[in-house]
Symmetry: C2
Subunit: 342 residues, 2 copies
């Protein structure tokens, strides 16, 4: 027996659907979630691939997510789509709202999609890449749980608040990135704890507000934003835009709602779509070509173009026709399926 | 003779208008620029107060800016206003486009203003604060000159690319911030050079790509983005959004256009305005109240709320009825007025 399991992308999808439906999630939600896990696994974005099933099942078993919620789409304003996820997972709500968002962005030049009352646990880049595949520029953001202290403070009131951006490219996949506005993703701190590795300085503080490199002390204390007061300001902006602006919870309010269950956070999500053709009309192709020169000048000097590693992994996976995951992880995930359903 | 000069805000405005018109700028442009310099001086944002006249006059004397350009407004799409600044300064173009941007944001929920072919040299926060004073959320960004190397690279291809955000507050001035996506503002590096002070590590690299704390070596080499690869990704996003998206120059192209004149960069600017009332309707007041709780939780734990220092300075200035600037600066600025016009 090898220590890795080899699965085709279809098998990744089917397996993920099976684990989630066996834990009570409706088929439409399971398929929406599994599609993103499959894409993340394809791009070797391990933390949001099949590994995410652990978090997903924990959330399902905590009983807070509505497992068969039917998202409701509201054509809210000429530039605003609102989708009430009805306390279900966010991705089916995104599927429901995306066509109207694309239509509005093409009609107006810029439009927003507010997903409300959702449990979000995926990476953001697959969501903005979908906008770029329609030829649109995409931005996305959401709060999470209050784990991060603002720059200069010691009390965690901000989420890890991810931000994502995608830009359409004529040849090849979109230029897309996402990042947590915390210095490190929460999952990575947990990985450091499990492996007994110290954190890089600046990642967080202990419960008394002192700098520490001990992962457990940071998990009990507070994480810090990336980039000092600038990253902290961005994180606050994300709280406001994907929280009170759209009528949803801040990370602090989401944490209170959770009551210690450690389930995925309940909150909103904001996506913004922009149509280059509505800014520069028939000239947009030549302007997009100038963007290529900038992206090439970045990658050409040996700087990593954000998303570049993912796209290289994607090419490798598509050529190989399968992905490999640690055998131990595969067995842990299989064990998430109740015995009677295995 | 004291070593500071005391001026009322009206005197700041009039003096700035006088320096600019004496150097050939049309009255409408001079008044638009002077209004922002006055507001920056009021908030003790020294680098963008009267001090900015030095840069402004250098740009005027370089002969590249069109001193009497009349901005032209285009109602480009339901969610897009475009203003051609016709190679004039940006602020008169902003004045021209702002009413239609506000109208579109209120009608659609979200709208964009693209200012094209402009010379921008002000701080961004006064511009987004104007949107917040209309009850709107504001974002703004622009490229500059290619002074910054992307994370992991050594060749400067990115601008210092400022980003700004403003959020309306019921009582008191808006929550607003702006920051350069470079680790340090270019003007601050120049100040370090003038004062013979070393830079903090991580500010820049020399012409051979090695880390250095020597300001002159960084000015000859490359500045670095704030926050490593995350800040670098944001800077790239700003290049794309306020450059090719709206049909304007990237920082690299602007640098080439400048041909070493060291004038203000020629480029575009993107503003986005969002109307909370179009997202949450009649409930927006209660949601904005929740935002207050978040902002209070930030300031309440001793963390500096972005913009807080400016607002404290504003209150001080308004109470005192005047601002103080170094006598030497005042005399240097007076000397910018040709003798015959003094």
């Amino acid at each position: 027996m090898t220590d890795t399991a080899s699965l085709t992308l279809d098998q990744v999808f089917d397996f993920a659907v099976r684990v989630m439906t066996a834990n009570g999630l409706s088929e439409p939600h399971a398929r929406a979630n599994a599609a993103v896990m499959r894409d993340c696994q394809r791009d070797e974005c391990q933390s949001h691939g099949l590994y995410r099933l652990i978090m997903c099942v924990r959330t399902l078993r905590a009983g807070m997510v509505v497992t068969d919620a039917t998202p409701e789409v509201f054509d809210h304003a000429p530039g605003v789509v609102r989708v009430d996820a009805k306390r279900g997972f966010s991705l089916l709500a995104l599927d429901a709202g995306l066509p109207l968002l694309v239509e509005k962005a093409r009609a107006s030049g810029i439009a927003a999609l507010a997903i409300q009352n959702c449990f979000h646990f995926s990476a953001l880049w697959p969501e903005v890449e979908r906008l770029a595949e329609h030829g649109l520029v995409g931005l996305a953001m959401n709060p999470s749980h209050a784990w991060v202290a603002p720059a200069g403070g010691t009390t965690p009131i901000l989420g890890t608040n991810p931000f994502a951006f995608a830009w359409p490219r004529k040849d090849g996949p979109p230029f897309a990135f996402d990042f947590a506005t915390s210095a490190m993703a929460r999952g990575d701190i947990e990985l450091h704890r499990r492996e007994g590795k110290p954190l890089p300085p600046g990642t967080g503080i202990d419960a008394r507000g002192n700098p520490t490199t001990d992962p457990l002390a940071v998990l009990d204390g507070a994480m810090l934003p990336f980039g000092g007061h600038k990253g902290s300001a961005l994180s606050l902006m994300i709280e406001l835009l994907a929280g009170p602006l759209i009528g949803d919870l801040t990370s602090l309010e989401s944490m209170q709602y959770d009551e210690g269950a450690e389930a995925a956070p309940l909150h909103g999500q904001l996506l913004i779509a922009i149509d280059p053709a509505r800014f520069t009309g028939g000239d947009s192709a030549s302007h997009l070509a100038r963007a290529e020169a900038l992206l090439d000048a970045t990658a050409g000097q040996g700087a990593r173009l954000p998303g570049q590693r993912r796209h290289e992994a994607r090419a490798r996976t598509l050529a190989a026709g399968h992905v490999s995951i640690p055998r131990k992880l595969y067995e842990d995930l299989l064990a998430l399926i109740p015995e009677a359903k295995r």
